[in-house]
Symmetry: C2
Subunit: 332 residues, 2 copies
Amino acid sequence: MRIRVVQVGLGPIGVTVARQLEEREGFELVGGVDLDPAMAGRELAEVCGFAEGRGRRVWADLGDALAELAPDAVTLCTGSSLARVAPTVETCLLAGVSVVSTTEELAFPWLAQPELAQRIDQAGRRGGAAVVATGINPGFAMDALPLALTAVCRRVDAVRVYRLQDAGRRRLPFQLKVGAGLTPEEFADQVASGGVRHVGLRESVEMIASAMGWELDEVTDVIQPRIADQPQRSDELEIPAGRVCGVLQVGTGRQGDRVRVRLGFDAWVGAPGSYDEVQIEGEPSLRSRVEGGFPGDLATASLVVNAVPRVLAAPPGLLTVKDMPPAHCWPG
Amino acid sequence: MRIRVVQVGLGPIGVTVARQLEEREGFELVGGVDLDPAMAGRELAEVCGFAEGRGRRVWADLGDALAELAPDAVTLCTGSSLARVAPTVETCLLAGVSVVSTTEELAFPWLAQPELAQRIDQAGRRGGAAVVATGINPGFAMDALPLALTAVCRRVDAVRVYRLQDAGRRRLPFQLKVGAGLTPEEFADQVASGGVRHVGLRESVEMIASAMGWELDEVTDVIQPRIADQPQRSDELEIPAGRVCGVLQVGTGRQGDRVRVRLGFDAWVGAPGSYDEVQIEGEPSLRSRVEGGFPGDLATASLVVNAVPRVLAAPPGLLTVKDMPPAHCWPG
């Protein structure tokens, strides 16, 4: 009765997903895969910090792992880039194994990377397996949830989402990822090299617009530093005034001169709290708020695991969260 | 390209749904059906208050209307009782026409009325058509929305929903339906006769429990009057102190001695505002709030109309909102 899952990718998010699969009823973690040669052959339990080993190991070759373990599904947490994960996804699908992935660019790739999207869709249809990408954002807070809220509307003019996060309360890698502690020049370099970019705003903008039937003329994704106007500190960092304490990233979808979708990701050390807010402008207009915000890493791991039963019940091919029954915690 | 719909039931909610079908892109209202002999043969436009007649009329016989108009879907707003609407639903399904209904007892009938549920499911499979019941509650605020929020959780211990409504800002029939202005004795009589009962709490409790995998030992639905402790007034009513100003109805699902689901419907003249709040207890716990609340009648009509494309794309049979892709406003 338990769903047999192989975890592919054993970085921080992958390990968090693996832990849920290990500890939750309804799932059985049967093995792990990671390309890092330092991981190959190690005990999965040791890599993930489980008490019980049960002889499971980390495989270096995905095809071997699928052939030997015959899982029902793969949870895939190896990176944001669709081009880079596409071969892995195709290998799973062609082997008839459905996939839930955290790959942000896979959340709604139909407009940004249509050829890759189609190739993956076809692999799913050929293999009789389905794939969906999810996570807190993209996958939920900035697309699936606001779309679900529009169900009470007879007309929608615009969708706005704002996530404020006190980065000082998140783990250090998150603080560094939003640029905390950098000089403005270093921040600009990091933006140019992609180091501080939060991937997925474009995908959420385009998923919402697609559902609403809005043909967008322009999608922008603008990254600005949040500069500390006074010294800020977290448990791990001291940030002098004038340094970067975080990021404000805004994704916007325009139809003509109308802003149809605006998604604000605002994460900095010293932010006055955390919350997630959705604002629908239309008939009726409404505003929904989660005080404290969704806890990013835990929420992403839960969304991935909770999507596994949904993807197994779905028709084959490439799915997006807007077109499948919503995941819910299971079993409660 | 427009979805052709027949509206069955032309009471207040039915007319609101018909207006959306008439005014929204993507839909074409092709006719109406109502059993009331005073309506039969009248112009649909006149009954609904449309400017344009276009020759559509109100049919007394559903079978005749379906045969003549060949709609893609029926929107059905005739009442809360599954037993009473079942023949109508079956007629549509066996004619191959999918249905979205506001019938509260149809929202999740699998535990309360399993035989009727199965009969309707089979009619859908035989006719190749699908049916789902939705509306603000049941259908969204107290079941689909809280379930969607549990997707960020790795464990759920309890789901609580609370809807506070300032009944004085709603239409008079709503104020009367919640008992405003009655004496406590009259209120008790109305509760006994079913006059002030909000139908659907049991269905939402059982839908949530079913999704979470909780086998409930007890489901209760308790109705209490809200007594005015000082005089209250709406535009339509004056309520002296000591009279009933509204209702607090609480649906509870228990597993052993644990409260797993608690749904509070609290509507009274003089309430200090309106809001909809969902509270998930688990890992993580979270609280989501819509200030001002969902506007009931508009939201219900929108949810029904927005579910039409979903039900047309669904596999045949009896569906519940938890198992189909969530409706969203379409087109935006």
